[in-house]
Symmetry: C2
Subunit: 442 residues, 2 copies
């Protein structure tokens, strides 16, 4: 065979953490990749605005440049990896590369979630491909599994722990009983949270990933702004401890459900049964549970971020592109899993129409009649109570009252909560945490 | 676009449980598959020796035949699914189909493990493809993940719970404290074990799957007879209970490790820490842990067998074949993950050279000096004891002595065990269970 000399030239845009990982894999595992692919994947150009980024990378003469656009436009480079992030230069670079017929790999979930349609059209017109395995779940093959392995399934639902920062913080709070603020500070110290952790702890990073998952799982366009989101900032050790007593763990869960004419899509702190495998996903690890009508329940578990795992996903996409190129395949797998003409616009179920079970905690005056007022308000809104508990100690003259509801509508729950918050026997804002428990219904 | 009329004709050989599932998916999810693939996957022919098999399937006129060879040879059928099993007719049918240039999907792990080379050559010469995702782990994308998603990784190790029957039996023994015989009878009652469960409980089914995993993970030819195997038949509730006290669960674990010039490959009941996610894999569920040098530790979890999950894997392979065909791709991914010329013959480490930690249980006379004789024998063979315990009650005048060792060589351990078994203070055969604990070394 003559394929020993074949190679695919790649241009890497952005060499921060993940980019450096890609350089490392292509340099260190080049022979192994060639043994699998039958061709070399060669890093032809590496672009970064910071010239000092090149220093640590041991690149060959002439590979590094500070001009990313020159790489995106280079006719000798058919494949571009975008790891710059953001929706500014990254978007322009990807669009240019795609317009020139190049294939692109990106880890940019925010960009795909917000400009997926535009990118997809550019790929379709240019003739290249758009890959984004590294955008969701690090090395875990979330995108590949949904686009390829589930191809014979109606995907019923997807549940994800998709943000390592949040999962690390919640795990530390659960194990050590420490506050959110303390756990966040620790996460920053250890490099699990950025200086400004807002994108992670607010749940927005998870929303971006969920939008991508919904699109490819259900074959629909998604406006990620329609996805309900609540972050982990207000979770307390008390709620974690009470959840534990009821047999639950609290995770920031991305939830996608296929309701046929609607899609349920939401991201919020969620109580899940401790017997659920997802409850055993701790620290900075991620997991995705995919439920298909034929496949049943599958879980992928792994490091959802980090230099080498994410770089591993980039390289797996590069290998897919190389294999397509070598075998002459064009548009082998549709970018968003479905043929363009079969992608629908299934609306996201409005948050108020979601039905689930709820955990509620109130700081209530320790006197007779309080419970009847609370349960009266809930009954008035048609919310059925599963159990009521007084948990924890009195503080500032108030005792914590905890309620678990049967399945109820979100808008009714919110209305009831507002009514209860106004009661003179209630101090402070009520706490509301949603429960996702496949073992219990109604 | 004109692709709405495109279709890929498939011939299905064998329609027992999984075959019926394939018929069901292709009939019930045909539109969904077409929306993803851009072409229909049409069941052109279904062959089964039992004419009555057709009755339940609601097949169109003329689709069913009792002559599988006529399907394998049919020039109008470019893709064949082999679900007959065994190494007789199945092998001949696959070889004929491949020789005619057809692509083949098979769930036949025994055949691939024993005749992989022959099948692979037939595919190479014929120009078709050979897919076998349903052979390992049901719907879980074990093969795809190893062949594609790990392409940038040196795969360091793979650990699998790959047999639902064994895992069901061990789970029931663990939860209920029942004997192996009782749990096996229950598994048969519930359809988790066949009338003759030997292939499953002996570990041989797991060996076949592990042989396939080793081949594609490490790029080597494998003689599955070289893989050390021990079944679950002699596991007792007592050992399970003692394991639990030490923080371990007992699983039938398939173990593959990349030692560079050797491959460790073994299947046996194994104590794993209860904190390991694999320890939480219960009932008939399967899981595979893949450790890559870049990806880190990933786990796939799901139903490892059963009608619809396995059929889901068959259909995912059919979709891959359809996509290759539609996009003009040939030999896109090598059958055994590596380019043929790069597949080596890395020897399996002989069982005696394996080094791991061990659990040993002896029925010993309850009198002074016993322990010194046992530990003397171990010391004599250079085996270092981590801890010694007297566990459980005296019976027949003997007390159970339990030892955990530090890492030791298997051949030394066996020699020491033979010496100990000969001691006059020991009654009955010693029990030996291997420990796989990444948290503890030496």
């Amino acid at each position: 065979m003559k394929s020993g000399k074949k190679e695919i030239s790649v241009g890497l845009l952005g060499c921060g953490t993940v980019g450096s990982g890609v350089v490392k894999i292509l340099a260190g595992r080049g022979e192994l990749i060639r043994a699998r692919v039958g061709a070399a994947i060669r890093l032809a150009k590496v672009a970064d605005l910071r010239p000092e980024a090149a220093a640590a990378l041991d690149l060959a003469e002439g590979v590094f440049t500070t001009d990313a656009f020159s790489v995106a436009r280079d006719p000798a480079i058919p494949v571009v990896v975008e790891l710059i992030g953001g929706e500014g230069a990254a978007r322009k670079l990807i669009l240019e590369a795609l317009a020139l017929g190049k294939s692109v790999v990106t880890a940019n979930k925010a960009l795909i979630a917000s400009h997926g349609d535009e990118l997809f059209k550019a790929a379709a017109e240019g003739g290249g491909e758009l890959f984004f395995e590294p955008a969701v779940g690090g090395a875990m093959p979330v995108i590949k599994t949904l686009r390829e392995s589930m191809a014979g399934n109606r995907v019923e639902s997807v549940f994800g722990i998709l943000n390592g920062t949040c999962n690390y913080i919640l795990t530390r709070m659960t194990r050590e009983g420490i506050s959110y603020a303390t756990a966040l500070a620790e996460a920053k110290d250890r490099g699990y949270a950025e200086a400004d952790p807002t994108l992670d702890v607010s749940g927005m990073d998870t929303v971006h990933k969920l939008a991508i998952v919904i699109a490819i799982a259900f074959g629909t366009r998604v406006s990620y702004g329609d996805i309900f989101v609540e972050g982990i900032e207000r979770i307390t050790p008390l709620d974690i401890a009470i959840a534990r007593e009821f047999g639950y763990r609290i995770k920031l869960l991305a939830i996608a459900k296929n309701l046929g004419d609607r899609v349920e899509g939401r991201v919020h702190p969620t109580m899940i049964p401790k017997s659920d495998l997802m409850a055993a996903v701790n620290g900075a690890m991620n997991a995705v549970k995919i439920v298909g009508d034929a496949a049943g329940e599958m879980v992928l578990y792994g490091p959802g971020a980090g230099m080498m795992p994410t770089a591993s996903a980039v390289v797996s996409d590069l290998v897919d592109i190389a294999r397509n190129s070598l075998s002459g395949a064009k548009k082998r797998v549709p970018v968003f899993a479905f043929q363009p003409r079969n992608i629908g616009s299934i609306p996201i179920l409005p948050a108020g129409e979601v039905e689930t079970r709820y955990y509620m905690r109130f700081a209530a005056a320790d006197r007779p009649g309080v419970l009847s007022k609370i349960s009266g308000a809930l009954g008035h809104h048609g919310i059925s109570i599963q159990s009521v508990h007084q948990k924890g100690r009195k503080s500032d003259g108030a005792v914590p009252i905890v309620l678990l509801t049967h399945t109820a509508g979100e808008s009714k729950v919110r209305a009831a909560l507002a009514e209860i918050a106004d009661l003179d026997v209630i101090s402070g804002a009520p706490v509301l945490i949603r429960i996702e428990d496949p073992n219990e219904s109604a």
